[in-house]
């Protein structure tokens, strides 16, 4: 039993924290080798353990960064590698990849794919709609899921993003996404039976976003503690009010719970019990995230919801964690099913 980081992980943590504090760009992060840390050696990377993902994404969260590391690194590179593609260029930062999987009616159901793939003499063509495709407006490579027919396995394709009808928009808390309409769009088949690799990469993406949430919580906690110590009302620091003291103590307790949940998932990401931990962790992190968002804003008062103060942006990002890869309700139900 050992909860400490390896020396390499500690170096990665320190380096990444410093880089992100000074406004690390996509290129700088890639150059540091961070993307390669997200994949195991057998897939071309040089990390890929649950704890590697935890270290990287906790820092991403702590900095409130909106670099699309989950999309390019965990989902994109993960799927490409699983499909037997060379990812050296991706790990070096040479591509930004978006995964167009969710559809307007799919909510959080990975199996809901109505986009249709048809093969003719020219190759494959895809028709359907893809929804809230994160980082698609900036992607140089686009992975798309579709089914050749009802009930067939989900197949993974690549589509040229330049050839697309793509409607981009900003995301709450940073970053961008797009709605994508496919209308007999030419595509290259990467893998015909992609269900397992989708489940696997989404489990890892759930770990990543949960760790990111943890980092966000830590930053919000620090901001709030600082505010309680310095902001004065009724003639004394508001942190002297017992009600706020206890609320802060409860937040701290719950953030520790979130950290443990992320540790649990990191430690089980490559075990048979993975899915149950995915559900437990994402549910707990979602519950705690709501508490942290709402209580930290409440303790700040009005300034907590202004754009110029940092809390608002962090709180928005943290609040949005519940809306990717399944929310608290979705994972509660999953946990019950998997526990039966």
């Amino acid at each position: 039993m050992d909860f400490s980081l390896t020396d390499e992980q500690r170096m990665l943590q320190d380096g990444l924290r410093r880089l992100l504090t000074s406004g690390g760009t996509w290129d700088a992060v890639a150059e540091m080798g961070v993307i390669g840390m997200l994949l195991p050696e057998e897939k071309g990377g040089y990390g890929g353990a649950g704890s590697d993902l935890m270290v990287v994404f906790e820092e991403i969260g702590r900095a409130g960064s909106d670099l699309p590391l989950i999309d390019t690194g965990v989902l994109g590179a993960g799927l490409l590698a699983a499909a037997g593609q060379d990812v050296d260029d991706v790990l070096a930062g040479g591509a930004r990849i978006a995964l167009a999987h969710a559809e307007p009616g799919s909510r959080y159901d990975l199996a809901h794919v109505e986009t249709r793939a048809e093969e003719n003499v020219d190759g494959w063509r895809l028709t359907g709609r893809k929804s809230v495709v994160v980082d698609a407006p900036n992607a140089t490579r686009l992975l798309v899921t579709a089914r050749p027919e009802d009930h067939a396995p989900i197949a993974l394709f690549e589509v040229d993003p330049k050839a697309l009808d793509l409607r981009g928009y900003p995301l709450t808390g940073g970053g961008e996404a797009a709605e994508i309409a496919l209308d007999a769009t030419p595509a290259t088949l990467l893998w015909a039976d992609a269900d397992a690799m989708l489940a696997d990469t989404h489990a890892r993406a759930t770990l990543a976003i949960s760790a990111e949430a943890l980092g966000l919580m830590e930053s919000i906690r620090a901001l709030t503690v600082d505010y309680l110590r310095t902001r004065k009302q009724f003639g004394r620091p508001i942190g002297k009010f017992q009600v706020l003291q206890h609320r802060m103590a409860d937040l701290l307790i719950e953030i520790e719970q979130a950290r443990s949940a992320v540790v649990n998932l990191a430690g089980h990401i490559d075990t048979p019990d993975r899915d149950r931990h995915v559900a437990a962790t994402k549910n707990l992190v979602g519950e705690v995230a709501r508490l942290v968002v709402e209580d930290s804003i409440q303790m700040h008062g009005g300034i907590g919801v202004t754009e110029e103060y940092d809390l608002g942006r962090l709180a928005k990002r943290l609040s949005m964690v519940d809306h990717r890869f399944g929310d608290t309700l979705h994972h509660l139900e999953r946990f019950i099913e998997l526990s039966a």
Partner: protein, 396 residues
């Protein structure tokens, strides 16, 4: 004990309904339903429609252009207008300054200002909070120094809702530093066209620009604009905090919000079934509805007591706390129901662009969730309300 309205109250309700069916513009209800913010013009249009019927300030006495409604009538009017999707009445003139002038204002002030509130000549905003004095109003520092027939005002106000539309502001200002902090505060009416006033918008994280900072530099305000006596501002502010708050629970808003949430959730598919059939979602919806059914009756009990002339106790604080918790709960569940559609940032600024993302009911869920965090912060934060309740019951 009888939970039904009296025949007279029913008749009044029907009258309100008929009026709304006839006169409430569909353009405005559509905007409200889509969660799009109203323009200054929209508000003015609706105020004028109500005023034409004498209902803009129905709770004012008849001699000042009101109807002398009791608390129950007022409640009925609020419930019906909210249920019909009418815009809320902008409260600063009608709900706040009006009652203050009626209670504390001079005859000249009443004669001058009240008609101008009704006919829309003046648009008021509220200058209470300061950067260092939010829930702790007693520590406010914006000061008014007497200079002949004028006060000279210097300082800053903040969180001034819709201040960008206003041409007048009523302010709490410090006129004395003697005695207890709350004893040196006065209530002052200020024309925002006076030189030395600057309004700066504050952008909130939902993208909205409804609140503002207001800066005063050597702003000269006639002494005639003082309401009540000098240093009586605290009494006036407290009066507004406990009286005139029949709608503090926001039952109408909550009911409308819950109905909208149900409509929206029915249309969201979750693993092959409407989200409303997910038992865990249904449970949270049911808990809210059950709580709201009870709160509506708590509200009616308070309204009924007020109509019978009973003095308000800590009840308005209780309704404020429970009401804001419930509305925020509804907002949170709406954000949950929106699912991945909660992710796109759809601020007011996008309103005109006609390119909103996702099904209509989901589009403003995230923005509303964040915007309504204010409910438990402003108007006396929920912590301050709990202090008030505890003080009243524990008498310590």
């Amino acid at each position: 004990m009888n939970l039904d309205y009296t025949p007279d109250q029913k008749a009044f309700r029907d009258e309100v309904r008929a009026f709304l069916a006839e006169n409430l513009p569909e353009r405005l209800t559509d905007k409200g339903r889509a969660g799009r913010p109203l323009t200054k013009r929209d508000h003015e249009e609706w105020h004028a429609i109500l005023n034409s019927r004498g209902w803009l300030a129905g709770h004012w006495p008849t001699e000042h252009g009101g109807q002398g409604w009791d608390a129950v009538q007022r409640h009925i009017f609020e419930m019906e207008t909210t249920a019909a999707g009418a815009p809320r009445i902008v409260p600063f003139g009608v709900m706040m300054l009006g009652p203050v002038l009626l209670k504390f204002g001079s005859e000249a002030q009443k004669a001058h200002y009240l008609p101008r509130i009704l006919d829309g000549t003046d648009w008021w905003c509220q200058g209470y909070s300061e950067p260092g004095a939010g829930s702790d109003l007693a520590s406010l520092r914006c000061e008014a120094v007497r200079d002949g027939d004028h006060y000279v005002v210097n300082g800053q106000k903040t969180w001034t809702t819709l201040g960008q539309y206003a041409d007048h502001i009523f302010c709490l200002v410090r006129t004395s530093k003697e005695g207890k902090p709350q004893e040196g505060i006065s209530f002052l009416l200020i024309d925002m066209a006076t030189p030395g006033i600057e309004v700066r918008p504050i952008r909130l994280i939902d993208g909205s620009v409804e609140v503002n900072e207001v800066w005063f530099s050597d702003v000269r305000v006639p002494v005639a604009n003082l309401v009540g006596a000098e240093n009586m501002g605290w009494t006036i502010a407290k009066y507004l905090l406990t009286h005139e708050r029949t709608n503090i629970a926001g039952v109408g808003f909550a009911s409308a919000g819950l109905a909208a949430l149900k409509r929206m959730a029915k249309g969201q598919m979750d693993r092959g079934r409407p989200l409303t059939e997910n038992p865990h979602f249904a449970a949270r919806l049911a808990r809210i509805e059950i709580d709201l059914m009870a709160m509506a009756t708590t509200n009616l009990r308070v309204v009924s007591a007020a109509a019978a002339g009973q003095a308000p106790g800590p009840e308005s604080s209780m309704l404020k706390v429970k009401g804001t918790i419930l509305r925020q709960e509804i907002n949170n569940l709406a954000k949950t129901a929106a699912g991945p559609w909660a992710l796109p940032f759809q601020s007011e600024a996008l309103e005109g662009a006609n390119d909103a993302i996702g099904p209509e009911g989901t589009r403003r869920a995230t923005a509303t969730y964040f915007n309504n965090r204010k409910l438990s912060i402003y108007g006396g934060s929920n912590e301050v309300q709990r202090n008030i309740i505890a003080k009243a019951i524990l008498e310590l």
